[in-house]
Amino acid sequence: MNMRDEFAVWREQWTSAPAVPVQLIQRVERQTARMQTLRTAETVVTIAMGGAVVAGAVVHPVLDQIYWLILAAGTWAGIAALWIVSIRSTRRVWEPAEYTTAAYVSLYVQRLRRELERIALGTAISVLLSAFVLFLVYEGLAHALASRGVHMAASDLAEFWIVGGLVNLFVILGQMGKRRKTKAELAHMTDLQRRLDAAVSKDDSGNTPA
């Protein structure tokens, strides 16, 4: 093997080792940690909320059992829908396909896109679920009171509606802010991905070996 061939082999070996910028790895790892935290929170909420409505359906305090049964069924349907959205948003994006910069950037971009979908669908389902729970609790309470001879109008529980509405409003506003932030980050990362692809193809088309 002559010197030029030998050096060409070394160069190939030298540049073959995949190396990903540390900052990119750290960003992806932070993203992974957030995904894991979110998954844990979802599990806790499922157990707490789903468990509470099932317990309510069994014990049926204050409201009639039929209301509790509808509440439990609706809540579990909502929880199931939220889990489908959540699982879809994290499917096959837990780790990069390979240990390369392009794979890490691609993973990051894919996660942001999924996050946008999750925010839109998740918020819609959460608001619907919340409205369903509020409506059913109100109806159940009205029915329970009516059976005791107390009749009430929607305005009699103004605080109930105001608080419920405000909670939903804050959820929507919070998710809108998050969506805007995610969209900005996605635009930045897709631009970066485009530049990276351009740099790689430029590098491939001709370099200046010593």
Partner: protein, 162 residues
């Protein structure tokens, strides 16, 4: 400027990491040096007037940082010190052989004296003699001389490694 910095880092990150690895004993040491290099590039970027190519510019900064890093970290390593940079991240099995070859070469490069390590890493990254001369601050003829000596030393070290 932020965009330009990110673009430079994305396009040259792998090369800079390899370069950092040739001056580091461990992955965390390599990552520290990489951070130092990134910071130095960020600080120097406003002063870049395009007198040289961007690649030469960032490699010059990287090499200056690597020299400072070596100087402040510990006394210069003996060329025969057997150092390793273990990378514990999982690799696909098919990459293992390639990875081993790279590690073997990287280990041999780390055993070269610094002045030879500089030119050989830049040459392996595909810089021309003129660019290497610009980065290291020596004459082009000297680059050729150092590179030839580096090759001879590297060949011997690689044979020992086998």
């Amino acid at each position: 400027m932020k965009e330009r910095f990110h673009r430079l880092l994305m396009a040259n990150g792998p090369a800079l990491l390899r370069l950092a690895a040739s001056y580091a004993d461990t992955v965390s040491d390599r990552d520290d040096l990489f951070q130092e290099i990134s910071l130095a590039i960020w600080k120097a970027l406003p002063q870049f007037r395009g007198d040289s190519s961007e690649r030469t510019f960032i490699f010059r900064i990287a090499h200056n940082r690597a020299m400072s890093h070596l100087a402040k970290r510990r006394p210069p390593a003996s060329p025969v010190d057997d150092v390793e940079v273990p990378d514990l991240r999982p690799d696909p099995e098919s990459d293992l052989l390639l990875k081993q070859k790279h590690e073997q070469l990287a280990a041999a490069i780390r055993r070269l004296p610094v002045e030879y390590r500089q030119v050989v890493t830049l040459a392996l990254e595909g810089l021309t003699y003129a660019e290497i001369a610009d980065v290291v601050g020596i004459h082009e003829n000297n680059v050729g001389v150092r590179l030839n000596r580096s090759r001879q030393m590297l060949r011997r070290l690689m044979e020992v490694e086998r």
